[in-house]
Symmetry: none
Subunit: 210 residues, 4 copies
Amino acid sequence: MELPDLKMPEKEKKILEAAITVISEKGFSASSTSEIARLAGVAEGTIFRYFKTKKDILRGILIHLVNIVGEPLILDSFKKVLFNENHKDLRSVIKALLKERFDLMEEIYPMLRIVVTEALYHEDIRKILYEKIISKALGIFKLFREEMVAKGLMDKDIDPLVASRSIYGNLVGFFVYRKFIGPLIDVEDFDQDLDHVVDIILYGIAARPR
Amino acid sequence: MELPDLKMPEKEKKILEAAITVISEKGFSASSTSEIARLAGVAEGTIFRYFKTKKDILRGILIHLVNIVGEPLILDSFKKVLFNENHKDLRSVIKALLKERFDLMEEIYPMLRIVVTEALYHEDIRKILYEKIISKALGIFKLFREEMVAKGLMDKDIDPLVASRSIYGNLVGFFVYRKFIGPLIDVEDFDQDLDHVVDIILYGIAARPR
Amino acid sequence: MELPDLKMPEKEKKILEAAITVISEKGFSASSTSEIARLAGVAEGTIFRYFKTKKDILRGILIHLVNIVGEPLILDSFKKVLFNENHKDLRSVIKALLKERFDLMEEIYPMLRIVVTEALYHEDIRKILYEKIISKALGIFKLFREEMVAKGLMDKDIDPLVASRSIYGNLVGFFVYRKFIGPLIDVEDFDQDLDHVVDIILYGIAARPR
Amino acid sequence: MELPDLKMPEKEKKILEAAITVISEKGFSASSTSEIARLAGVAEGTIFRYFKTKKDILRGILIHLVNIVGEPLILDSFKKVLFNENHKDLRSVIKALLKERFDLMEEIYPMLRIVVTEALYHEDIRKILYEKIISKALGIFKLFREEMVAKGLMDKDIDPLVASRSIYGNLVGFFVYRKFIGPLIDVEDFDQDLDHVVDIILYGIAARPR
DNA sequence: TATGAATGAGAATTCATTCAT
DNA sequence: GATGAATGAATTCTCATTCAT
């Protein structure tokens, strides 16, 4: 996990990167500051110059995800994909969205795993994630839906919250399947699989009136 | 978390129950055998009569989920809901399915949280889950789809894997939303929300040809 | 420092004895639990079965001084000396008192040094010492003075508090001199020196009307 | 604690003052060089330009007490009070002495607490204190006693050492009582209390022949 | 001269595991 | 079988000291 060039001392960045790697592999409690220090190439004491406690390292990762990765990477690219003028129909937008989100999840996967795990156990982290990322993404999607409804491409009866929950639910199901089950068995070609997901998101599982 | 009556010494059951409670609250590494022993009402040394190491307690929980909870609770009730003769249309099956799965997830939530966390970090656990539960559930769903296709209620072009991934993706999105985001903000009435999810699963987010 | 036989696990007693020795030699902060463990002949972890934190060891020593040593050793023997029927005059009581207190201070010197040092820095310890020992000793001395005044051996105008402060002040000055300055230079014979102290306590430093 | 203007770099003085404050509050071992540096307003590394090790700071404080405070403050004012021509009788000298010493002890209390604590634990410090201050003070007192004996105001049989030990013992008892026990309970008016101490020092606790 | 980042040895504390009772 | 005292390795964290700037 390499972090973008930040206004941050060299060593602090090294420590944060090492921490993301180690914690993502073993989980927070099972990771030791000594291992993080070793991987970061600093003395163990140095960690505590930058992070008062071990817990603060975790907080640092979360802050990083929210402030540094959250805004530009998660939300900006979300907007960019949704409102890209090149898309002519809903299908192409959704497909581009799924593709782009999938790649993003792969890219920030170590950080993601840490934050998901911690969010499972700590309400305060869920709150921060909701306020800083989820609620904002929902707002963006709402605008997108209005545009689509205006163009007659989405059903105006459908709750935007439910719709985006569905898109994300399908995305996560797809991601988990490809990432976790894929290595265990033979799976379908990625792009074909993705097309199926788009189909389902757009038209559901029921028989289609044609 | 109370376990069903098993062919298992009283004390071992007590320890397993206590372990599920403690580990679900703090995570595996952050839980101590002393706390598990205290909650189980046994001496610390007693734990190690039934589980060679702390890690074996975790394995015990997983085995329990797979063997004891997996077959009767997860798969049998899945079958029961899907093939219940009382359902006249797909909508009622899917809604019953979501409702039943939601309640099940709530019921076994402590165990679920442990297993999800561990599955995030260990491939061997993912493999066991896939072989013992997921692949079986997919098989069941395949049969169900064939029945539905025969009745003209589901589209035969749709991959059953993709369809069940979609159902589960929507279910998980719904569950996470109700469980984790619900307490943070005002959310819609449960049953109404559920109906929306069923709609989306059945017909997707696109504009509907009428 | 060997503690009397107490209702206390063998190991706890060993730890407390070792702690008194080590802490008395280096002071609390400069003493390490590892050294205490080594001297006590137990594993370092064992210390923390009996004392939750290092600070609790100090508290244990203080409690020991107050409860175990305080009542029987400090106060009872104080009473015994003061009200011993064998003494015919004030001089013999005071001399016996000084002798007995001096020996007691020597005996419990390691513990004393710890408690004095800590009392210098912590008001809560001073409070406990005052309530559990000093105020009680003052009460005992008050009774003694009444008896002496009744016998015409002490001046009724003299405040018992000031009188006992004087006795203790002289005693401490004597103790410090013998213990700390004695080893540095040639000092007077102990008994002769003690007689001088008694003289001063009884009649002061001014010219005596004869 | 502000030190008099010394032939000493500004920074060294600042460090020494800060050290006295910090060490007096927490004790030597519990004080950290980083806190001393912060309070002194210098970088942590700067401390080690002036004091090779942390221990040397303590030595610096002691040296300061002995060389700088010892001669002018402790001994000169002692002489001044004892041989002040204005005193007509022993009572007024002793009272003035006690008052002056009490104030001095209050003034240099932070330094005093440090030195007393260290003297309790280290013979070499006791030796320095004895040679540089105590023995000199005893010499001064001896001269004073000769004068008093000549004037018929003090008993020539009384050992000057014992007498000054008694005066200091009473003074310390008085100081400890006012400083440490005073805040815990209601105590007598200071001046009245002081008069009682003078009485006891001069005439002792025995019944007075009138 | 002054700085403060970096160090690493050592501190207190926790905890899974063992074993005598 | 059951206990829980004892262990000691490992953990987080502190801090005096060094040294490049």
